[in-house]
Symmetry: D2
Subunit: 367 residues, 4 copies
């Protein structure tokens, strides 16, 4: 058991989540490496100091280079605005320091490609923070599909829908401008990553992207409110995805339905401790979707809750990420999802934007 | 209260459903016109006689012209294979006899266009049998939307999914051949009609249509297993639809989700007595989708069940159709959905097939 | 196929339901006996005539003896106020005419005992109208339990809850007076019958019975608003039941949960086309309650709906009752539930009322 | 911000949960007092050392008195077998050290009474660990009821059901012996506490307690498998509760339904991020149970998840307990639930056991 000095860049929502995760992960998973909350960086020294005290870091800074270069920092977690992802990651990787970067990997396809290259060249651990897929339920779904339990897949439907901009009178803010903050930049990456994780690579895509409420109190809206895609996976399955920040009534509509020749799976993050499974092999009269509550029989559940049905929550997924990041650092082996996986997501997004613009199917391989 | 002689063409599933409906509708709705089960027509005299006895008709025939021309037949219900819809309807309309025709209206766009013309020229009552939309829940959904209760609509997702061909080993039959029997001909019309009824006209469409299991025991499959569409409604809303007969686990997946600026609606025919409604106007802490159980406060419920929650079933929707057909005959006024509505559905299907073939968006107005 | 003249006593809600059922049952089930709607009886000649026209009977009367004694009446359906059940049934049975009587069998234990005796002495078909248990879902639940599919039963919880008197300002009416109209007389019989049908005889009971809102606009309330029971079944299982007309939010809360050593069953009439089944035999990670949608694989479903998931409704259960009544008449064999079953329900109610009064467990055998 | 030395007694499931909570609570809630994981005590020095390393404590011991007496220990958390609760708590309180004790407070009514006295005499902070009630959903339910939002309560149904002993072949262990380990000692306290928290004091109770599977592989079973209660609350409401460890299919069946004159509430811990609310005030056609997903608008949600629908899990409830314990220590004010509340639960259990033995209602005030 040895200590590792953690530096976190960004003290907002995800910065806090990662701080809590780093404080908990050792006890939860009895990890070999034990994080030490060494330094936190925020945009001003005041806020940095405030985060330091709140989250229990030893030191604070308002300069990301100070943090990255500090000799007591062994690994960094990037939870800054997306524009900074690339330069911070490149600097840390150049110093041989492992990097965990929040999604989306880069604010553009160029950025994420550069980050993949930097990670490969550095040879150090790199991960990207697609957290929703890490529930015991979704991990179990992946295992069921990979094990052929629902047969050959014929159909996938995924969505990431929320309603924080459903009200047309909600004012314009930083979230209503900047490509990376629209649904294609902010919400789509989660479900596209989910689709790739569950189904494998996407071959081609045809999308629509739209700003529904073009004017809000306080200004014009310059990024998208919702978007949809028809997709074709490399395994031949047909699919559809929908992303929305104006999905009235949806709070965490990270949801998918997968149909196979031997069964089907349904999941909705709004009830994140349940996975619905249908099996053709059941006797006809007994067939039905089973509501399986996650428990010790499912991946990564027991470290949080000894008995079934206790339920894991959002923060627990972040702790799993911390566990995997520590494992990648310790073993030197790539742990899913790496920067490469984050870049794959960005390629699908780029192809989707292209298809929407040209009103034509686009092959992912052209991106 | 006066009697009306009913002739039903086709004695299979829908023929039976309409026979039961005609036997019940008077008592259920205390209709002014009272159906008399006068004659049933089937493909052989044996089966016709068997249906006659089973359903309680006075007479039977194996010749549709005999039925249509019989002087005691005042109105006809067409529940034959789709290829016959047009000629039977044209013959009956030419005689001034009201026609209720099962969906889809015609087996082709040409057929349904001709039927619309024949209906217009005859000036007699004509209806088409899109039954699922007639639950109290879906009728209430229509009323909510029409009344502006969920605001401006931004998104529609509909599906009609079943799994009767989910098993790749299910043998090839008449259902696996013939355009009209595939999902675009058999299932899509229901949900496209639903979309039109709930949302208004569709402006353009981009679809994929696929035969997944091209060979089944007993022969080749020549029609489609599933299909998806991206659509744009004339009111500006974006939408998606999916139709499948291989949707493992789905038994009656006639389901839709509609998002508006003031609320949202969800419905699934598998729980046909519930409508889910979300209202932005509720206080923040109390917002949630309400599971509204249909009852006397909703359209067409009380004639079946005095108290709320008793539940209407599939047959009740057919009885509502019979009630409306009688009303159209009695009043001489057009009652939704007329042949024109059936033709609208066929236009969307034709545009969808065109878009899938050309991999390009198609305008409905071009069809 | 031969005709049978049906007389229905009572034209209100249940009178209408049975009229519709008698008009439909022949076509639905292709019955050998075919009902002829011969005469309806109501409390005034005006209302009787109104019902006659509405439901399609040949004749009407305001005198129940006229109906019972009429030579064209072959069988009677009693849907009158409960006070009249006994005398009508006794008169009809004395004439050798089969009787279908709405629940509860008699307004008192004495009445139902007398009706059982009269039925036994007459030797003719007799049935009682516990309709909710007749859904395909509940019939399937009975079959699963009887077949040992969920093992030895350890626990039963049942309820029949509605909310038509939830509002304390709902005015006093005939329903708020008279033992038979309270929850123990009106709602409890349904679920007690359900418990007996699913679980077998009840051995002892301990109940509470309460009038919560003792005064309503318009007068005093003299019967019970809700009641609960702890029960012990003869098979050793422990159980609980709750009955309420003030169960805010419950529309048709006819619901039960049954636990066995090999599995469990859950049902709620508010989603009457689904049965939830849990099986210990499933692999640990896959265990969950399956939502089974009723379909052709389940009892009495296919005559209504050829495909699964279409859904049966309240009226369909009444048609099943009509089918069974015709079958009992035709075969001369007792068909569940007979008057004896209705009397069993009344014994449990009497024991329950006794236990509530004495605040002590009561054995059913003492009643 | 000042440090406080925490000692935890017991390193098993709850010991771990409290360790993780103490490591996280500062960052999550930005607490003034900051826990230092000072010492952990387990039954052997080996296991104590193992827990120390796993959870990150400074020191370990196998002697509870060593821990309690240590000068660096400022407060203790008792997560030992129940037999030890009293003596450890009394020792710590005598030293003026705040005590957080797992439920049930004492293994007997005598023990819990003594602990209440010791706490009162010491004047220091004391709490008891009823964790399930602390979800944002259940805290919101408490607030709704307390605020009169569902009117006068007429009915309460609660259960705590799990299935870890549903299989009759599950072997006898320590859990199948000892009063405190049966359902009345282990599961009932959670839901009885829930009932008291939601509804206020219970006035009287009538229970049944049963060992269904009296012999298991490995030995006799000497405590109860399941139990039920009819209760009357001091506010006049009628109620029922059920507790079971043989509830096949139930994983965390901590669930309640509460009926009031203006609305109703439903909750099930198996979907712990949802509260169902029905409001009579809604227009008739729109009434339905709303599935409210917890979010920032609900108690204690935002410190875990900024956005709605992300979902809190089991561990988060333990962190809330830690926050409240620190707050009680810091302010010197009693924070619910204190030892007194734990003792109230034990009184209801004692009355319930008495009523089951005597087959008669028991008043809580006699205990």
């Amino acid at each position: 058991m040895s200590e590792i000095g953690i530096g976190i860049l960004g003290g907002g929502y995800m910065g806090k989540a990662h701080s809590v995760a780093m404080a908990s992960v050792g006890a939860v998973f009895n990890t070999t490496l034990r994080p030490r909350l060494e330094m936190i960086c925020a945009s001003s020294s005041d806020s940095a100091e405030r985060y330091r005290r709140a989250y229990g870091f030893a030191r604070a800074t308002d300069d990301w280079q100070t943090l990255v270069n500090d000799p007591l920092i062994d690994a960094v977690v990037i939870a800054t605005p997306q524009e900074l992802h690339r330069q911070i990651a490149e600097a840390a990787l150049a110093l041989g320091k492992p990097v965990f970067c929040e999604k989306p990997l880069g604010a553009s396809l160029e950025d994420s490609a550069a980050m993949v290259t930097a990670a490969r060249d550095s040879g150090v651990a790199n991960m990207v923070g697609f957290n929703y897929i890490r529930t015991p339920a979704s991990q179990y779904a992946r295992a069921l599909i990979a094990g052929g339990e629902i047969g050959e897949i014929t159909w996938f439907r995924g969505e990431h829908t929320e309603d924080f901009y459903a009200d047309p009178q909600a004012p314009a803010t930083w979230r209503t401008s900047g490509m990376a903050n629209g649904t294609m930049g902010d919400l789509a990456p989660h479900m596209i990553n989910g689709a790739l994780a569950l189904m494998g690579p996407i071959a081609r895509v045809m999308a629509e992207v739209e700003t529904v409420h073009k004017n809000r109190p306080g200004g014009k809206v310059t990024n998208d409110d919702h978007a949809q895609m028809m997709v074709r996976f490399e395994n031949g399955a047909m699919g559809a995805m929908y992303f929305s920040r104006i999905a009235t009534g949806r709070k965490m509509g990270y949801a998918y339905e997968i149909t196979g020749t031997k069964g089907a799976i349904r999941f909705d993050q709004e009830d994140q401790n349940a996975l619905w499974l249908y099996r053709m092999a059941d006797p006809d009269a007994e067939r039905g979707f089973r509501k399986i509550l996650t428990g010790p029989a499912h991946p990564d559940y027991e470290p949080f809750c000894q008995g079934p049905g206790h339920g894991t929550g959002y923060q627990d997924q972040i702790i799993i990420e911390a566990r995997d990041f520590l494992r990648a650092i310790e073993t030197g082996e790539a742990v899913w999802p790496t920067f490469r996986d984050g870049h794959e997501v960005n390629r699908v997004i780029a192809a989707g934007l292209g298809s929407a613009r040209d009103q034509a199917w686009k092959n992912i391989n052209d991106y």
